[in-house]
């Protein structure tokens, strides 16, 4: 038995928490860079500043460590999947969606790359998540998008392709960071860059899908002028 049993999740003493944190951080980097097979426990241990045995002591096995990392990433993901309803303003919802996705890519690029690496490898560990939880989320969002289209708030585009468009174009800046750096010639993108890209993507998506403000709807459909 450990000390007092608090109801919250992060179990274990201070030492355990500190070391696990170091291991998880190092592992996220290494797995993101080399994929599940290509990553070695030895390298993770070195990056965490611990002997290999210690990593196995805390994490049990390479596989368990990897699964735990994926779960951590998916938790961050899910926290972003907030609820929207058909009554909200499409432009605002899409804008917020793009912005939060963009900043997620910026704040957790290694996590994004870890996820990408898993998917590229055929998603051996995430298949049920994709075709279960995530699929449901996408389809519930799709329903809302379709309602917007029916009410003339946006063009009748396929919502799934639209979601994929937003996902891919935002995650690009995390997953393909090396390419972005090579082509722009910069060592890293600044916060302003990210903000400008966010604005660009938002603009293209909203204008490209013919999203209208609810207020403009009441003003009659005779005027095709935007804004």
């Amino acid at each position: 038995m450990a000390k007092a049993d608090n109801g919250s999740e992060p179990e274990g003493g201070a030492i355990r928490r500190r070391n696990e944190q170091a291991i998880l951080e190092a592992a996220e980097r290494v797995f993101a860079r080399h994929g599940y097979r290509g990553a070695s426990v030895q390298e993770i241990a070195e990056q965490a500043g611990l002997p290999k045995s210690n990593v196995l002591y805390y994490m049990g096995s390479k596989r368990k460590l990897y699964v735990r990392l994926l779960e951590r990433v998916m938790e961050r993901w899910n926290a972003m999947l907030d609820d929207i309803s058909a009554d909200d303003d499409p432009a605002e919802v899409l804008s917020a969606f793009i912005r939060s996705k963009m900043w997620m890519s910026r704040r957790h690029p290694e996590g994004s790359r870890l996820f990408a690496s898993e998917i590229i490898g055929g998603a051996p560990f995430l298949q049920e998540y994709l075709s279960g939880e995530l699929r449901n989320w996408v389809h519930s969002r799709a329903t809302v998008f379709r309602q917007w289209a029916e009410r003339g708030l946006m063009d009748p585009v396929d919502p799934v392709w639209l979601i994929f468009l937003i996902w891919s174009s935002t995650q690009h800046y995390a997953d393909f960071e090396a390419q972005v750096r090579g082509i722009t010639g910069r060592k890293a993108l600044s916060d302003e860059d990210i903000e400008r890209i966010t604005e660009f993507l938002t603009r293209v998506v909203i204008k490209g899908c013919g999203v209208k403000h609810p207020a403009d709807l009441a003003a009659g459909e005779a005027s095709l002028t935007e804004r």
Copy 2:
């Protein structure tokens, strides 16, 4: 010395060509799935139906095989980077660009994933290509886009972000195929699906960037009606 020296590239006898072909195909799959480190020569050999020694005999080393694959992918890529000029119709150029990128992702998904895997891993083998050849191509295209914007043929968007948008949203269907399958619930996308997605992306990009037909320009700017 081998037989007659023909000027074309694919050297070697029929046996060599056949085996190399089998090895390259198998290797593209395995490297795409597991990354450079995670791929094993043994697995490549098995998938090619040859003993490991034979793979090394033809390819020299794992590293040389990998580099050769990357070069093959980049050749396919470069063949697509045809020339455009500021005199062309922006809508047509962008449409053709999206379409060819989309079909490249469909026809060579393993190659696309191989490239993605290399970039996610920090592009250790492709850094100079990215910041050299590819960078120049992007910037030459960017110049054309800017000229279009100056002539009022499209909104003054940053051309580099636009190119990234097209790259990411098209490549998504190769790189994240597992995710697309899981969420759509389908075993594979059909040619019609790809065509519809192409149309969707083209529409969003062209409408979203305010691309106009050159003919509409002459008709005066009073009419804001589209199409």
